[in-house]
């Protein structure tokens, strides 16, 4: 029972990171109607930048801030440099181009930093706090959980309460009409990418210290998890991404905890197939997913 509670609590923290990363996929999906398969590799570039910045300055927080900026810059570069040239209405072309981008980024990282795992430090202790004799979350998990929830709340406010958010949504849903009304649609798409990859970078930086360490393939699995989350939650729904993220996080932590870490990729595959076969639009999406 103690173990179940512990796994559940840890799962929530991991789930919050998955949710955050999945939310970044949702952001791009809403802005450009594209699933960005390069999101993991792009976030990894930012994580390496953060790692280098932390090593140079000695401060985790400066590294984190620079990493988020690097994430935003990567998003800008990927959109302006590559993804904007993908023709509309050809999602598979987008997927293949993104795969090419993944290979390029991983090759560059592999060349610069080598294949070894580099441990990343955490700003807080990562051994669990005991509550009433039961080990629960670590301070770091708590930090992760709160950060993820705050960022998600901030994004929700941005999209629902600000003029920029309104323009972003308008540009995504009715580009032609928005353009006539004076919204700079192409700029909005770029802003969507920048926001999205900054969020993805943050998620990767929060997750990597709890895993094996930094390596050119450190976010492969994160992308698969987040893809599963986006599918479970429905690609169109930020609330779905949160619920889906927590669900997948807890489910995968339970699988890892009881069956071993090797079973996790099988668990996520089974989950994906079951959800897609039963409810292809996602469990938490109420409306039918709009066509691309």
């Amino acid at each position: 029972m103690d173990r179940l509670l512990f796994l559940f609590a840890t799962g929530l923290a991991r789930g919050a990171v998955f949710a955050l990363f999945a939310l970044s996929l949702v952001l791009i999906w809403r802005a450009a109607r594209m699933i960005n398969f390069a999101q993991g590799a792009m976030a990894l570039v930012a994580t390496y930048v953060a790692f280098a910045a932390t090593a140079a300055t000695g401060s985790y927080w400066i590294g984190l801030a620079i990493g988020i900026l690097a994430g935003a810059a990567t998003g800008w570069g990927a959109e302006r440099g590559v993804m904007r040239f993908v023709p509309h209405g050809r999602p598979l072309t987008g997927v293949i181009v993104a795969i090419g981008l993944v290979m390029v980024l991983q090759a560059v990282l592999g060349f610069l930093f080598g294949p070894q795992f580099r441990p990343m430090r955490t700003p807080f202790d990562d051994s669990p706090i005991t509550v009433g004799g039961i080990p629960l979350l670590s301070p770091y998990d708590l930090f992760v959980l709160i950060t993820a929830l705050v960022i998600m709340a901030g994004l929700a406010l941005l999209f629902t309460r600000t003029s920029l958010g309104l323009q972003l949504r308008a540009a995504a849903f009715a580009p032609e009409v928005s353009r006539i009304l004076g919204v700079r649609v192409s700029r909005m798409v770029t802003i969507g990418w920048v926001l999205s990859s900054a969020v993805a970078a943050l998620a990767a930086m929060l997750l990597v210290p709890t895993e094996l360490g930094l390596n050119p393939h450190a976010t492969d699995m994160l992308f698969v998890y987040a893809f599963a989350v986006a599918v479970v939650g429905g690609l169109d729904s930020p609330a779905g991404a949160l619920l889906g993220g927590l669900t997948v996080g807890v489910a995968m932590t339970l699988v890892t905890g009881y069956l071993g870490a090797t079973a996790a990729p099988i668990g996520v595959l089974v989950l994906l197939v079951v959800v897609l076969l039963i409810k292809p639009g996602g469990i938490f999406s109420m409306k039918e997913v709009r066509g691309a």
């Binding site: 997927v95 090759a107 698969v224 994906l272």
Partner: protein
């Protein structure tokens, strides 16, 4: 008196396929054992790439997990061959039964994927196949009692048959077998795509609703495309296992799976000739780059990192450039023969190269 056009066309394809296979087998006499081994690897890769190019080019479905289907073929072959060796069966029967088992296992996995594919739209399917190939090492570890985890399975050495043993080395014999299997697989794929199934796949790819109205069962067509593609990949996995005498998860990584996509895209979607160009490229280019890097006197670590990552960089950049600039691929640059039967109708949608890949 005259033959049915379809039968005639199939007979022609078989004749051409047989001629090219014999030609390639003859070509092995020009190569030393090392290059015959490479040739066998190319032939095994070609089986999978040809299957993938049909799936992506003709039926518009993207699989990022074809390495997993090859792995299914490899494991199917190794398990069967080991069981047959224990039962005292050797030689050609052992190889053929192993090959059939490999095809059956990969085909079954492809059928399951196809069932999922029939209900999914493009990017979702790509995600599921990605999750599949990432799960390969996990499957090998969880079922390590049978699959032996990361270490994988070894199979008995298959010597050159006695009547040839004075004539050719074992690598050349392996190349012969690999080329023969690839020849059969590709001839079969060409016949299928020129026939009814190919027509249905392209109809569903271009406009699923119109295809349904025309009486094409879209779901069944997608499943069939996946099974055909998986069978080809399974045959490739079996051949690779035959050539290397082992199968392990390390050989079927995500990176290898993405390389198959690279092979298909670089060569030109939906073109068998493109799959040939692509397979040669993905086997040869890393070797060439390794040799080129070795020619410079660089520190050992830099050299190692360059040799390991430069091919990936080149392939990734080529993938982006080809996809955005010349979607018809390298084979599309060469002039090509107008399709025999439909030359009169200059309709691009009838051609085997997709104008676009739709997600429908």
């Amino acid at each position: 008196m005259s033959m049915n056009p379809r039968t005639h066309s199939a007979a022609r394809t078989i004749a051409i396929g047989a001629a090219l296979t014999v030609l390639a087998i003859g070509g092995t006499f020009l190569l030393d054992p090392y290059w015959n081994f490479q040739l066998a690897t190319i032939a095994a890769t070609l089986c999978a790439a040809a299957g993938l190019t049909i799936l992506l080019g003709h039926s518009g479905q993207l699989s990022l997990g074809h390495a997993a289907l090859m792995a299914a073929g490899g494991y199917g072959y190794a398990l069967t061959v080991n069981a047959l060796t224990d039962a005292g069966i050797v030689g050609l029967p052992r190889f053929l039964i192993g090959l059939i088992a490999a095809i059956a296992l990969a085909g079954a996995l492809g059928w399951l994927l196809g069932l999922a594919a029939a209900r999914l739209r493009g990017p979702y399917l790509a995600g599921v196949t990605l999750a599949l190939v990432i799960a390969v090492p996990a499957v090998a570890t969880v079922f390590s009692g049978v699959l032996r985890g990361d270490q994988g399975l070894q199979i008995a050495f298959e010597p050159v048959p006695e009547f040839l043993s004075t004539l050719i080395a074992v690598e050349q014999w392996q190349a012969w077998v690999a080329i023969a299997v690839a020849g059969v697989v590709i001839t079969w794929l060409v016949i299928l795509t020129r026939g009814r199934l190919g027509l249905r796949m392209r109809a569903v790819r271009d406009d699923e609703i119109a295809a349904r109205l025309g009486g094409v069962h879209a779901g069944r067509t997608k499943v069939a495309a996946f099974v055909v593609s998986a069978v080809s990949a399974g045959a490739g996995g079996a051949v690779l296992c035959f050539v290397t005498q082992s199968v392990s998860p390390g050989a079927y990584t995500l990176a290898f799976s993405l390389l198959l996509v690279v092979a298909v895209v670089l060569g030109g979607l939906g073109r068998i000739g493109g799959a040939v160009i692509g397979s040669v490229l993905i086997v040869m280019l890393p070797w060439l780059i390794g040799a080129a890097v070795g020619a410079f006197s660089l520190p050992a670590e830099v050299q190692q990192r360059l040799a390991g990552n430069l091919p990936l960089l080149v392939f990734g950049a080529l993938l982006v450039i080809v996809m955005l600039v010349i979607p018809a691929g390298l084979a599309g640059i060469l002039p090509r023969r107008a399709p025999r039967i439909r030359a009169a109708q200059a309709d691009a949608s009838e051609s085997t190269t997709p104008r676009h890949i739709t997600e429908r």
